[in-house]
């Protein structure tokens, strides 16, 4: 791995900075204040950059009801639910206990994690009486409501009413975290299926394009043939060709060619080829830049030993290029996994094809305010890129630097 330094020596994001220049002692005080400002400013910026994603993550594991009621920054505090009401049972359900006509029950359903705070006999008095208090009802008798929703309604005379009265109450909900949202989107909303689709698109397209690019990069770096410089320049030119140029012509071509064989022009095969084609210039460019930097002596000694270019490439250059290949593979993979446009155009929109990004756009349209669905779905879609990013950040950064600083 000693050759990794040839790509970009300072690439590693985690490398500690060059030694500080010692400050003259008379400036120490100002220097410290400056440091504090630096810390605060950077902290503020980092907060702005992380909070949106952090909020998404927190929200995705919150109780769907709580998520709809309060901001994610209040996730740890108890939320108060605005007044609700529950109808009491019919008069005939009363039983006689200790000489009193009594109706018992619970205002909250089973498995309810709400807690009743206040209650009252009408909608306007929902906040009037604390739990445990006893109040008179217009329908007769007195009622006591406990925190857990249990109520006891008693009357010395038989209950006589046709329409049962309602009890209004204000409840609070203890913070609850759950993975339900994830199981909902994975199954009911088809995110699970899309996840597989995304992998089906991204993995083959990545492998094919890196392989094709590696051979071409070697030829452009170390083989002699007429027009080599022209091709190198052409790669640079193609780097910036907008994807929009290719959509219509390539789709037409796909449909025409597939039509000759009587098959659909859209599908996985089409999208693999399209991604390979569109990603090729960057992959060739980065790999060629890397391979050109490999020591000439290695190539020459291999030639001396009678190795052909094919042998030199497969036995020496490829193993030496692993860091660069890793960078390219990560780039291609992330770009394909995160792509929406190519998938929209070349893949079709049936369930068996729609990728995570496409699914997410669908959900934004159909469930624009169902934030428990959206946040969990979005997090699933960014999970793989984040894992790739955090585990392979070194290679990712190297690739970026090699592609831009040249």
């Amino acid at each position: 791995m000693s050759t990794t330094t040839t790509l970009a020596p300072n690439a590693d994001i985690a490398v500690p900075k060059a030694a500080d220049v010692p400050e003259p002692s008379r400036r120490v005080r100002r220097f410290k204040v400056g440091r504090l400002v630096t810390h605060i400013a950077l902290l503020l910026i980092v907060a702005i950059w992380t909070l949106p994603t952090f909020g998404l993550l927190i929200s995705s594991v919150r109780d769907p009801d709580q998520l709809a009621l309060s901001g994610w920054w209040t996730a740890l505090s108890t939320s108060t639910i605005s007044a609700q009401s529950e109808r009491l049972p019919a008069a005939g359900t009363a039983v006689v206990e200790d000489g009193l006509y009594t109706i018992r029950g619970n205002l909250l359903g089973a498995d309810d994690n709400r807690t009743i705070r206040t209650f009252g006999g009408t909608a306007t008095t929902a906040g009037a009486n604390p739990v445990g208090a006893t109040i008179e009802l217009r329908a007769g008798g007195t009622i006591t409501v406990e925190e857990n929703g249990d109520y006891v309604w008693t009357s010395p005379t038989p209950f006589e009413y046709t329409t049962a009265p309602r009890i209004s109450y204000v409840a609070s909900m203890a913070p609850r975290f759950t993975l339900e949202n994830y199981s909902t989107v994975l199954n009911a909303n088809g995110i699970g299926r899309s996840f597989i689709n995304s992998a089906t698109v991204a993995i083959p397209a990545t492998i094919i394009s890196v392989m094709v690019a590696a051979f071409a990069a070697y030829a452009l770096a170390w083989m002699k043939f007429p027009g080599r410089t022209f091709f190198v320049i052409a790669v640079v030119a193609l780097l910036v060709v907008p994807l929009q140029m290719a959509l219509v012509p390539v789709l037409r071509l796909h449909v025409q060619i597939a039509g000759m064989f009587g098959i659909d022009g859209k599908g996985y095969f089409a999208v693999w080829l399209a991604h390979t084609g569109f990603g090729l210039p960057l992959a060739v460019y980065l790999l060629r830049n890397y391979m050109v930097g490999l020591p000439r002596e290695i190539m020459e000694s291999a030639r001396m030993d009678g190795a052909s270019h094919f042998q030199t490439f497969t036995t020496m250059v490829l193993p030496l290029s692993v860091p660069a290949l890793a960078s390219i593979a990560i780039f291609q993979f992330l770009w394909i996994w995160n792509d929406l446009l190519v998938a929209l155009v070349f893949l079709g929109s049936q369930d068996e094809y729609v990728v995570l990004t496409g699914k997410l756009v669908d959900l934004l349209g159909t469930m624009g305010s169902e934030w428990h669905i959206l946040t969990a779905g979005a997090f699933i879609s960014i999970l793989v890129p984040l894992i790739v990013f955090f585990s392979l950040q070194r290679y990712f950064v190297r690739g970026l630097l090699a592609g831009s600083v040249k």
């Binding site: 994001i13 910026i45 597989i196 193609l238 390539v250 996985y268 052909s308 929406l340 997410l360 984040l386």
Partner: protein
Amino acid sequence: MLDQALYAVLIVAIAVLAFVAYYWGANWILDRSLATNATMSHETITRRDRRRSRIRPWIFLAPALIFATVYLVYPVFETLRLSLFDRLGQNFVGLDNYQWAFGNPADWFRSAVDATGAPIIDPATGLPMTLYKGDPTFWRSALNNVAWLIIVPSLSTAFGLVIAVLADRVWWGSVAKTLVFMPMAISFVGAAVIWRFVYAYRDAGTEQIGLLNAIVVAFGGEPQVWLGIPWLNSFLLMIILVWIQTGFAMVILSAALRGIPQETIEAARIDGANERQIFFGIMVPQIAGTVLVVWTTITIIVLKVFDIVYAMTNGENNTQVLANLMYRWTFISGDSGKGSAIAIVIMIAVLPIMIWNIRRARAAEGAL
């Protein structure tokens, strides 16, 4: 779903094998058909050696060349051709699609007048007639794209530079950089959901669940439907791209800053320069080239921005941009002529950067 996973693995294996078979097989055939051995004359050996080394590069290049030609070179010319044809690409219509987009430049600054110079009154409305000055949505999109082109690269580069400088001065700088860099890995659509949540709106009086409105309300303001406010909504969409691209600018600029020789900075300090003078006088000039590279890279990304607008507003409320407009005309309205014309406009906007890149590459190759 398991079927599909197996199918995918199988296809990957077949595809990889096919390419390996091609590269290996073609090389094998080449070596076989032009084999040399000791019994051959010196001339034959030299000739065969030369012919082999003449053919082999093309074996290596062929798949890439085919891909590049079919997926990038041919489409450029085909799109150019289609932009001169009607909606189905069947009848030649000349520059009609461009005229639809831009109008007639001669009419841009004129109003409709008759031979005597008096305004022509439209008999239907009783108002002065206006000349066709191009498609309003197209102009709006182009204008929005210009705003994106100015705001996103400049904010991303500026934030990236500030963070790169600040992070190099604190012990937790690498953590800070990683966190700022993280959005680079997130898809535009994922980012759109994240920021839709930040911009979420609830009626005044109820508790806000969107961070932005919650902050506004906390300071005593009224909650706003952010994405419905023209101009501001475009800016709020740009923020998303800035959020994503700042990490990129930061990483590149951070490496460039580290590349500045410490001696120049020390020398300036000994001469009594303060931190600000060192930054603007010594550091910025030395990384100017890198800033330009970062700027152009982000510019290209901005020109192609599609996903964010598509997912956030789909161009409603005056947020349309060219890439999304092109998609709409081509795939929703089914007019490949207008779609292609818009694509060509995007291509022309990229052209100066392409030429600049080519010139730099030519200088680096020292030839052509």
